[in-house]
Symmetry: C2
Subunit: 333 residues, 2 copies
Amino acid sequence: MRNRLKDVAERAGVSVKTVSNVVNGYAHVRPETRARVEEALAELNYRPNLSARSLRSGRTGVIALAVPELDIPYFAELARHVVDAAATHDWTVLIDQTGGVPERERVVADGVRGQLIDGLIFSPLALTGAELARRADPRPMVLLGERDDHGPLDHVAVDNVAAAREITTHLIASGRRRIAAIGAQRATSGASASMRLTGYKQALAAEGIRFDPRRVASAANWHRADGATAMARLLESGVRPDAVFCFNDTLALGAMRALHEHGLRVPDDVAVAGFDDIEDGRFSVPTLTTVVPDKAEIARLAVELLAKRLATGSDGAPAELTAGYRVDLRESA
Amino acid sequence: MRNRLKDVAERAGVSVKTVSNVVNGYAHVRPETRARVEEALAELNYRPNLSARSLRSGRTGVIALAVPELDIPYFAELARHVVDAAATHDWTVLIDQTGGVPERERVVADGVRGQLIDGLIFSPLALTGAELARRADPRPMVLLGERDDHGPLDHVAVDNVAAAREITTHLIASGRRRIAAIGAQRATSGASASMRLTGYKQALAAEGIRFDPRRVASAANWHRADGATAMARLLESGVRPDAVFCFNDTLALGAMRALHEHGLRVPDDVAVAGFDDIEDGRFSVPTLTTVVPDKAEIARLAVELLAKRLATGSDGAPAELTAGYRVDLRESA
DNA sequence: CAGACTTTCTACAACGTTGTAAAGATGGTC
DNA sequence: GACCATCTTTACAACGTTGTAGAAAGTCTG
C-alpha cells in the first residue's frame, strides 16, 4: 500500500524519472505516456514521500508558529489566520506552545524543531528582540506583537499606542473622567503593556485629564482571574473609576465579573473597554467594546515576510510592518 | 552553518557512523572518542536532519491532531493535552482544522499530510465511523469523541450518556422540574447530541418526570449565538423552564446571555448546566456548573493507542476506551 | 598462548526523490 | 537526404541518515 515512484513506473512501463516528471507537471511528456502514468498513479494511490522530497530539496514545506498558549483565544484565532495564509504557499503550519516561559521560548527560537521547519513565526512573551536575535538557528524568523526592542528581526505588529489612545479617547468622549487602566507590567516584561499604557496616558493628556497612577492596576498575567483581582483591588482601594480600559479582552471579562460581584453595572456605573477582539467578548453580558486588530492582515504579512526571506536566502534589512485595527463600539462602553 | 554528520566526523577525525553512534547513544564507543565527538558536535552546533532520518527510518515523529476548530475552547484545551501526551513519546503534533466540513474531514482522513505524519488523532464532526473506515490512507488513526457508529477504528470517549444523566439528575435533585435541553441535532449528524439527549431523558425517567419534547431546543451548531437563539426560542414559545441543560458550555454561555436579556436571573429563576468545562465557564457570571471530561486522560489514551498501533504494525482488533469525567457544581445550578 | 569472545570503529548500501546530462527519436529546413 | 533543433525519455548521482556486516584491536578462558 506504500507506493513509490518505482512501483508506479513499473506499472506504467516507464522510468522512475518520467513518473516524477508527470507528478511535477513537467511539460515535455507525450500525452499517451502521461495518460498511462496518471492511470498507474491513480490505481496505486500514489503519495509522494515528503521526507525524501525534503531531503532532496532542503525544504520541508512546514513552518512553525510559536505562541504562548492556544487556549488564549487571541492566539487560537491568530493561529487559524496563519494557517490560512500559509496555505496559499502550500505550507503546513506546526504550532508550538511556549507557555510564555523564557526557557521554552529560547528553545523554540534555537530550533527545537531541528530541520523539520523552514521558518518560524514567533510571538514571544518573555524574551526581548535582542535576546532572540542571538539565537543559534539560522532559519528565518518573523516576530509578532509589539516590541519596543525588536532587534534586527522581521516584525509585524499593530500600532498599539494609537489603538490604546483611540479607545481611551472614546471613553472620555462618552463622558467618563475617572478612567482606570488594568494590565500594566514591569517595563522589561511587557512591551504590549507599556505601549497600551502610553496610549492611555496620551489620550488623557490630550483631553486635559491628569494622569493618576493610583488608577492603574498591574497584572502579571492577562487571564480572567488577573482582571478580576485587579478590578477588585481598584474598587477596594477607594479610587472610584467610572470607566476602565483593560489591556486585553480577557482581563476585561474578568474585570466585568468583579464589577458584577461588587454590585456595579456595566456600562451604567462603570464603562469597560478591552483590546484584542476575542470571540467571547462578542457574546459576553454586556458585549465588550474593544480594539479589533486585523488578525488576518497580521498573519498574511508575517507569512509573506517569511516567504521573502526563504526566497532571497535571508539577506536584506529587517522589515517592520504595521497591520491595521479598528475600535468596535459595543455595549460595555 | 548547516552542519552534517560528515562535518562533525571530519572535525573529530572519525567516521560518519561513529558520530551517528555517539548522537544516538550507542554504548560501545571509547570514552575518549565520545568526548572528542561531543566536542565537535557542540562546536558545530550539530542538528540532525529530520528529513534524512525519516527517510531512513520510515517514521517522521510527527502525528496529526485533526479537530473542527482551535478557537472552540474545548479543542484548544484538548490540543494542549495531546501535545503534552505526545511529548512523552518525543512526538511533534501537527494540528489540522477541518471546520467540521465533510469534504475537509475526508481529505484529512485520506492523508493530506501525505508522508509527513506517522498517525492521526481525529475528532470528526461530520463524518461517521463507517465513512472514515473506508479511507485510502493506511496510517493508524484514533477517533476522539463519542460515536454511536465508530466502525472498525480505535476510539476514545467519555461516557456521554452517564455524564448527561448525572448532571440532569443534579438539576432535579436541586428541586427543578421543568428542565429544558439545548443542543439537540438530527440523529445522523451528532452522536454527542443524541447521547447527551439520551442521558437527559434517562434522568427524567428515573425521577418520574415526563419527557416533554417542547422543552428540547435544537442547535445546528454549538456556538454561543446558537445557545442564545435557542434559549430565546424556548422562552418565547411559552414553555417556562426552571432549568436548562445545554449540551456544551458554549451553548450554556449563550443561553445565559439570552436569559439575562429576558430579565431572568441565573440560577434563581433558571438554573443552567453545561458540558465540557471550558475555561470561560469558570469565570462567567455566574460561574457555570458543568460536566468536566478528563481531557488529559483522553489525550493520553489516544496517544497510547496510536503508539501501540505504530509499534505492532496496525494489527489487532479496534480498541474502544473510556475516559473519566466528573460533574463540577458551581454557581449556575 | 591458542582460541573464542567482546569492544571499537568503519565502509557500504539503502531509504525515495529530483536535477543534470545525455541518448534516442522526431520533425523541419535547405 | 544531411543537418540541426526540439521533444521525449532515461541513467545516474546526490540529499543526510543509520542498519548490516565485517575488520581490527583488545580481553578473557583454560
